[in-house]
Symmetry: C2
C-alpha cells in the first residue's frame, strides 16, 4: 500500500426533499451567488423554482448563467468569471450534472485569478484560491459533486483538459434521487459507464496489497451492475436511483484511490474522442475501456481474473486463467451493450480516419497510463481495437 492523504470535506445532503436544504447550505458560505445550470431541464421539472425559493427564504440573492453544454466550454466559463466579478459574487451554485459542476469549478478558480483560467488546465499555473462551489446534483455520472476534478473543452483547437486539485472540491452537494427519474435511458446508461470507468481506472493498478480498496471498488461496481438495469426498467424506482446516485459519488471522491495509483489512460483517450466528435463521455468510455482491457490484460492476468470472478461472478476456469480474464472483459461489453451503449467506434458513429491524430493529441503532454504506460502507437492500437 502506498502512503496517502484523504479527506472528504464535501457535505452530502442526500435524499427526498433534500433540495429544500439548498438555501441554508448556501447561506453558510455566501449571500450572493452565481446560479449556474445547463439546458433548462431544471425549469421543466420544477427544480429551478424550488432552488430559487429556498435561496430566497435563506436571504441569498443570485445572478444566473444557464447554457452549459455537455463537454463544457471555456467561453462560457470566461463569461461566468466576468459576471461574477461585475456582480461581486462570492460563491457558485451549480445545479445539474458533471458538466455544470465542472464549469462552476472553473469559474470559481478563475474569478480570483489575474491570468487566463485556461492556464490551470494546461498546467501553466496552479490555483491557490477559489470561490466556494455548492452543488444540486441531477445526473449521477461524473462524480464531480465531491471530486477534485474539472474537465473543460477549449473550442479553439478542440482541446479537452482536466484540472485536478483538492482546492476545488465542492463545499456541499444536495442529492435527491427523484430528480434523476426523468433522465433519458441513454443518459442513465452513459452515467453508469462513467461511474464504472472511474472505479476501473483505480482498480487496475500495479500497487500490491491494496485489499480494502480492491474490495470497496468491487462492492461499488456490483452495486451499479445490479441497479442500472432496474432503473432502466423502472425509471421511478427510488431505491435503484438512490444506489446509483450515491455510488457515483463514492466512485470518484478518491476513497477508492487511497493507497494506490490508478491508470486513467482510458479517460485521457476518451477526452480526445469527445473533443473531436462531441460524443457523450460515458459512451466514449464504453468504447475505449474494453479495448484498453484487451490491450493490457496480459500485463497482470491475475488482476483481470480477480475482476472477472469478483465483479462479474465468472465461474473461474482455474486451468485457463486467460479465458477467465477474457470472459470478464466480455461480460463488461455485454453489460454495456445490454443497457444500450456502443462498445465500438462504429456503433458510436466515429470514423477511423483520425485515429492517429487523436492518438497524437492524447500523448501531447507525455506518455499516459500507470498500470501500463503507453505512447502514441499504443493509443492508436487501442483505438483500432475499438473500431
Amino acid at each position: 500500500m502506498e502512503n496517502f492523504n484523504f479527506s472528504m470535506p464535501t457535505r452530502i445532503v442526500f435524499g427526498r426533499e433534500s433540495e429544500q436544504q439548498v438555501g441554508p447550505e448556501t447561506a453558510r458560505v455566501a449571500r450572493k451567488v452565481l446560479l449556474h445550470y445547463g439546458s433548462g431541464s431544471i425549469r421543466r421539472n420544477g427544480l429551478y423554482d424550488k432552488v430559487v425559493a429556498s435561496l430566497a427564504s435563506s436571504g441569498v440573492s443570485f445572478v444566473e448563467l444557464g447554457g452549459v453544454q455537455p463537454n463544457p466550454r471555456l467561453s462560457l466559463v470566461n463569461e461566468g468569471i466576468r459576471i461574477c466579478r461585475e456582480n461581486k459574487i462570492t460563491a457558485i451554485l451549480a445545479v445539474g450534472g458533471g458538466s455544470v459542476i465542472d464549469s462552476a469549478k472553473a469559474i470559481a478558480v478563475g474569478v480570483p485569478y489575474a491570468g487566463d483560467v485556461w492556464d490551470f488546465y494546461t498546467g501553466a499555473a496552479q490555483p491557490v484560491e477559489t470561490l466556494p462551489v455548492g452543488v444540486v446534483l441531477t445526473i449521477p455520472a461524473a462524480g464531480s459533486e465531491a471530486s477534485k476534478s474539472s474537465v473543460i473543452t477549449n473550442e479553439e483547437g478542440s482541446y479537452k483538459l482536466a484540472l485536478d486539485i483538492d482546492l476545488i472540491k465542492p463545499v456541499f452537494a444536495v442529492m435527491n434521487p427523484e430528480y434523476t427519474f426523468t433522465l433519458p435511458p441513454y443518459q442513465t446508461a452513459c452515467g453508469a459507464a462513467d461511474i464504472m470507468a472511474h472505479i476501473m481506472e483505480r482498480y487496475f493498478t500495479n500497487v500490491r496489497n491494496v485489499e480494502l480498496t480492491d474490495r470497496l471498488c468491487e462492492a461499488t461496481l456490483k452495486t451499479i451492475i445490479r441497479n442500472v438495469p432496474i432503473a432502466l426498467n423502472e425509471p421511478k424506482n427510488y431505491d435503484a436511483r438512490a444506489e446509483i446516485m450515491w455510488a457515483s459519488t463514492v466512485a470518484h471522491n478518491d476513497l477508492l484511490s487511497t493507497g494506490r495509483t490508478g491508470d486513467w489512460a482510458s479517460h485521457r483517450i476518451e477526452h480526445e474522442l469527445s473533443a473531436l466528435y462531441d460524443v457523450a463521455h460515458g459512451a466514449g468510455l464504453a468504447v475505449v475501456f474494453p479495448a484498453w482491457m484487451k490491450f493490457t490484460y496480459k500485463h497482470d492476468l491475475n488482476r483481470f481474473v480477480q475482476f472477472a470472478v469478483r465483479v462479474w461472478d465468472v465461474d473461474q476456469d482455474f486451468a485457463h486463467p486467460e479465458l477467465t480474464a477474457l470472459e470478464g472483459i466480455g461480460r463488461l461489453e455485454k453489460f454495456w451493450s445490454g443497457i444500450g451503449l456502443p462498445v465500438t467506434l462504429k456503433q458510436l458513429k466515429v470514423p477511423t480516419d483520425r485515429i492517429d491524430e487523436m492518438a497524437g493529441r492524447a500523448v501531447e503532454q507525455g506518455s499516459i497510463g500507470a498500470f501500463v504506460t503507453i505512447r502514441k502507437p499504443e493509443v492508436a492500437g487501442i483505438l483500432r481495437l475499438a473500431s
Copy 2:
C-alpha cells in the same frame, strides 16, 4: 434507503513516516496544544520524541498530560480541561488509541463550556463549540480518529456513556501502521473485534435497499478477517497492519451508516460490562455480539444468511436457511476464538451474579437497539446466552 447527511472532514495522513507531518498539521490550527497520551508506550517506541521534534520544528509549543487509561476516566478529562484553561491552550493533540482520542474530545468540548462536561454525556446539554482535536493514531480499533463519538467513564457510579456529535470529529489524523507493529497480540485481536463490531452494528438494520452500504460493509469485514491473522503471525507485516488500520477508520467514519439505521445494542451492553469489570472493550464485544446474534437472528433470517454467505463464504444450504445463518454466527465465534478472544462471560472471567444489574443499567435511558428493540429482560437474556 433513508435520507442522510455525510462528510468526512478529518484529513487522513496515512503511511510510513507520516508522523513527520504532525507539526505542520497541528500548526494549521494552533500554536499551543495539550499533548495528551496514555501509559507512556509512546516514549518507549520513539513516537513521543518524533512528535515533539515535529511540533518544535513547526513552532508549536505544548503542555502534556499523559496517563489516559483504557475506558478513559472523567477525572482525567476534568484535569485536562483545567490545564487547558490555565495555559490558554487552543487545541488538543491526542497521541494513542481510542481511549486517548475520546479523552481528548471530551477535554476539547469541556474547555469552552461553563458547566460540567459530563452534561454532554448524560444528554443534559449539547456542545456548541470545541477546541480542534488532532490525532496521531497508534491502535486501530475504536475508529475515534475520524468519528463523531467519545465514550467516557465516570468513576463515581461506574457510568460509561457516549457523546455522538459531528462537532467533535478530529481535524486531522496521522496514521503510520509501523507504530502498530509492537501491539500485543491480545490488543490487536481486541481491536479487530471492535472494528468488526462497528461494521456489524451498522450491517444489521431494518432499512431495506441499502445495497451499496451492505457491500461496503462486507468488503471491510472481509479485509479484517483476512488480515488480522496475518498480522498476528507476522507482527511487522506492513501491508496487513495498513489494511487493518485503514479499515478501522472506514468502519466508523459513518460512510457505512449512510442511508441506514444501525442497532448499537451490543455496544451499549458491552459498556456496562466494561464499566463494572473494566474489561477490554473489544473482548467484551466478542462476548456480547454472538449472543446478541443468537437472540435476534430469527428477526431477519435472510439478512443473517447474507452475512454468512457474503462475509464468511458459507456454502449456502438453500433448503435450510436457518442452518446457514447459524453457521455464519458460528464462523464469527470461531474466528474470534482463533485470534485469542473470549466469546463467553466465563472466558472473559466475568461472573453472572450481576447480570440483572448490568441489564438494568443498559436500559436506564430507555430501550436500546433498532434492528430489534430490547428492554431489561432481553438484555439479561442476551447476557445469559453469553455466559
